[in-house]
Structure formats: C-alpha cells, structure tokens
Amino acid sequence: MLSCKHTIAQGTDYLDKELSFWRKVEMKMHLMICVNCRRYVKQLKQTVVMLSKGQFKQPSEQQVEQLKKEYQEVSSKQ
C-alpha cells in the first residue's frame, strides 16, 4: 500500500494525467480509503485553479495609457 507521503508526492502527476496505468490504479485505491489524501488532491486542484485565475499585479494607469498609445500608433500604420 502506498503511504500518504508517497501518494501526495504524485498529486501533480495525478491531476495532470501523467501517471502510468498501474500508478494511477494504486493511487486511486489509496484515495478511496484515505480521506486526508483525498482532501489533499482536491485542495491541490483548488490551488491550481486559484493560481490560474488570480490577479496578483495590476498594471499602473500610466503603463496602460502608454500601451494604448503604442497600440493605436501601430494599428493606424497597418
């Protein structure tokens, strides 16, 4: 039986569907009986989704204005 520590170490490969068939079976069997690891996999996924949608840094007004100007200049030439 896979230990919890080894199970969560495969968390990323499991989510990204990179595990071989038997590894996946082994992992699924562990997840079936272990609520802690099941939660971990769910939390890892939530973390990934959060990172993909997170807004950690907004551009300054000045940056936006500068880029809009650049965009309009280039667009008008094409």
Binding site: S3, C4, K5, H6, I8, A9, G11, T12, D13, D16, E18, N36, C37, R39, Y40, K42, Q43, L44, Q46, T47, V48, V49, M50, L51, S52, K53, G54, Q55, F56, K57, Q58, P59, Q63, V64, Q66, L67, K68, E70, Y71, Q72, V74, S75, S76, Q78
Partner: protein
C-alpha cells in the same frame, strides 16, 4: 478576477487586429498579472515591469501576424518569457534536484511511516472563487510565490498562472520533462501548504 469575460478567442484576435483600443485595454488588464509573474520569476523583480512593457510592445507589433495556433494568452506568455530570457539571467539557472528534495525527510506533515501526522482538515474557504475573494489570503499567496526557489517559481508561473503546456515550458527553461514535473509539484505543494496554514491559523 474580471468583471466581464473577454469575447471568444477568434473574435478577440480579430478585433485586436482592427484597432479596438477599448478591447485592447481590457486584454492588457486581464493578462498583465500573469505576464508579470513570468517576467518576475525569470528576469527578477528589478526589471519585471520593463520586461512586461517590452513584451506588450512586441505583441502589439506582431498581432497582425498572430494566427491563433495557440491561445492569445499563451502567445503573450511565450513572448514575455522570451523577452525575460534575453534580459538579465539570474546567476544560477541550474536545476538542482537535491535542493528540491531536501524537505522530503523532514516533512513534518507526516510520521516516519509516511502517514499524516495531524490529519489534513477540510478547508473552510474552498471554492476557487471564494479563495480568490479572500484578500488577505491572496496577499499571502502572492508573498509566498516570490519566495519559491527560482526554478519552481518559473515553472508554476509559466504553467499554472500562464497556462503554457509542459513541452513549451521545457523548451523555454531548457530542462527535462521529468525535472519540470518534480519542480512543478514542489511549487504547487508549497502553495497548497500556504493556503492550508492560512485556513488553519488565519496567519500568513
């Protein structure tokens, strides 16, 4: 989070090619954060802003050639990563797996036999939307993202924040797929722990 979703990809690109400055501004605001994360992790904090600005300028000049073989966001992220790479390279770009595994033996979450030492509690804030709406938590995530080792920071920014596929990432960072997978997991695991600790203790 965005108030309004951007139009579908085809329409989006078409309108950007046709001088739609209102839409352009929305695109800048939507993707700037992810581009900044990538620039920061590869080129460092001092020139990250500059790199993103230059990446946008390159994108503006190349948008009419964009054929939509990848998503617009992936295209912008790739431009940013390449721009960042041509600039300052952090002194050590070598991928050390020893450093990656140093915590394996001393991971206090687990007993010697590899069982959870104190269990793994359910999160109070658990949907991605609720996680994103918790400002203090987001500040905490941000703070810890930049504390990750360089190579982990680069991978998690390119993959999870930037949405690139692993092949592209391996090319950009010049590392093997297996190293990339290990590093990505270390980074995600660390961020899971940051969120878990915040939920448990209310502290960052």
């Amino acid at each position: 989070m965005t108030e309004k979703a951007l139009p579908p990809e085809d329409e989006l690109v078409e309108r950007l090619k046709n001088n739609d400055v209102v839409l352009f501004e929305r695109v800048v605001k939507e993707y700037h954060s992810a581009m900044f994360g990538v620039a920061y992790s590869i080129a460092g904090p001092a020139i990250a802003d500059e790199v993103v600005q230059e990446a946008w300028v390159s994108a503006i000049n190349a948008i009419h050639k964009f054929e939509g073989r990848s998503a617009l966001k992936s295209w912008l992220i790739r431009i940013t990563a390449n721009e960042a790479k041509t600039r300052l390279r952090k002194e050590s770009r070598s991928v050390s797996l020893e450093a990656v595994d140093e915590n394996w033996a001393t991971d206090t979450r687990f007993t010697e036999k590899g069982h959870w030492a104190g269990g793994n509690p359910e999160w109070d804030i658990s949907s991605p939307d609720d996680l994103l709406a918790a400002d203090e938590l987001q500040d905490c995530v941000k703070k810890h993202m930049v504390k990750l080792p360089d190579n982990q920071q680069q991978i998690i920014n390119l993959r999870d924040v930037g949405g690139l596929d692993m092949d592209t990432i391996c090319n950009i960072l010049e590392i093997t797929a297996s190293n990339a997978r290990v590093l990505l997991h270390r980074a995600r695991d660390k961020m899971q722990q940051v969120v878990a600790r915040f939920q448990r203790t209310g502290e960052c």
